[in-house]
């Protein structure tokens, strides 16, 4: 997964990571939306598995999750969709869900069962936003066993020790949260993102992607000026809601342009690599 990001950077652009939930507005359309995002220039896909209590998510993603859950899809259906997706794609994808979903998958194997199912479905990694590093040992063990990368969140409120441990544990990339708060589209980009990325650069050589509130091509261009990757969630979900795969494709193409237009290779990155 970090290779996909480095490859994009090598081609002179920030990697574009696009989030879309499985099962929204229905399972087939969600797969079509993910494939449209890949075609339009996404470098990584983040597939959300809906959960009843998504406390890191704002209204747009909450509502999409609710639609998928009301339709009766289970995490097993979500995994199944990912397996089908894999056959049609040549970019990596990762699952984003909450810890209770991972822990319940295919009991009594639980976490190990989830990690194995994800790897079997062709997923490359996982983001579990309510799993901080301090609680992650059981997950890291089973993820490593099947070759799944783990992505941890880093926030501007974290002290340097927490930032370093989040970066160390992140085997895919480090997810720098651009702003305090939950997922959702924002008018303007927070001023917190750039200093946070600098602080992370000081403690890690791993790729750093910035997400939460990154909504437009201009935001993407701005983030591409200081980060290795750009993560877009709610704006993509809104496009999927409003215009399905066609709208997703249009948005992602614009975002990809932003990622190229704004990209600046970090000064120290040559020596760091």
């Amino acid at each position: 997964m970090s290779e996909a990001i480095r490859e994009a950077n090598g081609e002179g652009r920030a990697a574009l990571v696009v989030y879309l939930p499985a099962g929204f507005p229905d399972m087939d359309t969600s797969r079509a939306c993910l494939e449209a995002a890949a075609e339009a220039g996404a470098d990584l896909l983040e597939v959300g598995f809906p959960y009843s209590d998504p406390l890191m998510d704002g209204p747009v993603i909450q509502q999409a999750n609710q639609v998928a859950m009301d339709a009766g899809y289970t995490p097993h259906d979500d995994i199944e969709m990912c397996a089908q997706l894999d056959a049609n794609l040549d970019i990596p994808s990762l699952v984003m869900t909450y810890y209770n979903i991972c822990w319940h998958y295919r009991a009594p194997d639980r976490l190990a069962g989830f990690a194995r199912a994800a790897a079997d479905a062709g997923l490359s990694g996982a983001i579990v936003p309510d799993l901080p590093v301090a609680e992650s040992a059981p997950w890291l063990r089973v993820a490593a066993d099947v070759g799944l990368a783990s992505v941890f969140l880093a926030a501007s409120t974290s002290d340097d020790a927490h930032l370093a441990s989040a970066a160390d544990a992140s085997t895919g990339f480090v997810y720098a949260t651009s702003t305090l708060g939950v997922t959702g589209t924002r008018e303007s980009l927070s001023q917190r993102a750039e200093p946070l990325v600098s602080r992370l650069r000081a403690v890690t050589d791993r790729p750093v992607c910035v997400g939460i509130g990154v909504s437009t091509a201009d935001h993407a261009a701005a983030v591409a000026g200081f980060a290795d990757g750009v993560i877009v969630g709610s704006a993509a979900v809104r496009a999927a809601a409003d215009g399905g795969p066609v709208a997703v494709k249009r948005l992602v193409a614009a975002l990809a342009q932003g990622c190229r237009r704004g990209y600046r290779a970090p000064a120290s990155s040559e020596s760091a690599r």
């Binding site: 959960y51 704002g58 209770n100 319940h104 901080p132 974290s158 927490h162 708060g181």
Partner: protein, 434 residues
């Protein structure tokens, strides 16, 4: 000694953005515990402002009705704001002040914790916002007004179940956004470490008072202490001092709603499975995939699919016992206290009454039981009068009578004891023709 776990339960399953703040909270708490001025401040506030210690009342008529063990009531309903919740908010309010947070946010179900938080915010001059499920705003309207009168902003939560679970989600989302200026004043022994530990330390005074006073009056420890369990704070407050007194049974009563054979209840420890919700590993009412179930209880304060991790541990070690009382039993307990003792209890607290009567009969006259009367019932009067009419008379399972359907009769004979003739039937509830 705190690594945030109770056996395998507890922990801290939260977004990274909160971990540094939770560390700071724990540090502030540890410092405060070691600081005599904090202890003195707490003592003075509890006593002069909060009305502690609360009374321990021997409920003679309920005891006679049960015909067994003596039943004492710990009168948390007499504390300022009308419930046990004030002990916790006094402590956390002072902690927030020490951490230089000027804004308090809280979730509330029954509104009692919201009222307590609004109270401390007014007292300490802080900004306050309370999240409350839309459904709970309706059924606990009195408390919404109380919060507003004290200057708090009440935000109705319209997502998910529109009850306590989603009020907690919404408060967490606010906290994640405003963590630098804001303290989340969590209202029960739930959530990520250090909350379950901190809240317990602030409410354990309940059991300490009971133990001291009962030893003085009865010369011995009780056979059992009982309390209703929503998130578990009033029960933990009652239990904690007794955990090492092995002869004392600790009995928690959860909300059995329409019955455990339906999915309309909130009996997490009795009928739930292990999972991770709201930052901690504990028991959860959820499906096989880990999606959390909607719950039901007649009482908003117990209508929650999670429970504090220390209770999960007490359950698994067998140190505490948990049972469930249905909506109908809670209503019966409510009426027993109204009619026999002249005390209108919170519907939450009322859940422990019928199980206490049953246990009193089992233990016999030599026994002693203490029930935590965690709050008063003013907030429930509207809802109860409404529900009582719905429950009768066709519902065969319940023999609760709507007062206005049996105007000519004294209240349920079982609610009176034949051996207290001076209290026979004239009655306050038979009248009032609808």
């Amino acid at each position: 000694m705190h690594d945030g776990h109770f056996g395998r339960f507890g922990g801290r399953f939260v977004p990274e953005v909160l971990t540094t703040t939770l560390d700071e909270l724990e540090t502030a708490f540890d410092k405060a515990q070691a600081d005599e001025t904090f202890a003195a401040q707490m003592d003075a506030l509890r006593r002069d402002y909060g009305g502690r210690p609360t009374k321990l009342y021997l409920a003679e008529h309920l005891t006679a009705h049960a015909g067994g063990a003596r039943i004492y009531l710990k009168r948390e309903d007499l504390a300022h704001t009308g419930s046990h919740k004030l002990c916790n908010v006094l402590g956390q309010g002072l902690l927030a002040q020490r951490m230089d947070k000027r804004r308090l946010i809280a979730e509330t179900g029954a509104g009692q914790h919201g009222v307590a938080t609004a109270t401390i915010a007014a007292l300490l001059g802080m900004e306050c916002r309370v999240y409350m499920g839309e459904e709970d705003c309706r059924r606990q309207r009195l408390n919404v007004v109380r919060m507003q009168l004290m200057g708090a902003e009440v935000t109705p939560v319209t997502t998910g179940t529109r009850t306590l679970k989603d009020a907690i989600n919404e408060t967490m989302r606010d906290w994640v956004t405003n963590v630098e200026t804001t303290h989340y004043l969590l209202g029960s022994v739930v959530g990520p470490h250090p909350f379950p530990m901190i809240v317990r330390e602030f409410v354990k005074v309940i059991g300490e008072e009971v133990r001291g006073e009962l030893l003085e009056r009865e010369g011995r420890l009780p056979d059992a202490v009982m309390a209703c369990v929503g998130g578990g704070s009033n029960a933990m407050g009652m239990f904690h001092r007794f955990i090492t007194d092995e002869t004392v049974r600790l009995i928690g009563v959860e909300a059995g709603g329409h019955g455990l054979d339906t999915d309309q209840h909130s009996a997490t420890l009795v009928a739930g499975t292990e999972g991770i919700l709201h930052g901690a590993r504990s028991y959860v009412l959820q499906d096989d995939y880990g999606q959390v179930h909607p719950t039901h209880s007649i009482s908003a304060g117990l209508d929650y699919p999670g429970v504090g991790p220390e209770h999960a541990w007490l359950r698994d070690t067998g140190r505490a016992e948990y049972r469930a009382a249905t909506d109908a039993q809670a209503l019966e307990g409510f009426r027993l206290l109204c009619e026999l003792e002249g005390i209108i209890p919170a519907l939450e607290s009322a859940h422990a009454v019928v199980p206490a009567v049953e246990l009193a009969r089992e233990l016999g006259p030599d026994g002693i039981i203490v029930v935590n009367l965690s709050g008063r019932g003013d907030k429930d009067v509207d809802e109860v009068s409404h529900v009582l009419e719905m429950v009768t008379p066709s519902d065969g399972e319940s023999d609760v009578h709507a007062p206005d359907r049996s105007p000519a009769h004294p209240p349920r004979s079982s609610a009176r004891t034949s051996d207290s003739p001076q209290r026979a039937a004239s009655s306050s509830t038979g009248g009032e023709e609808g």
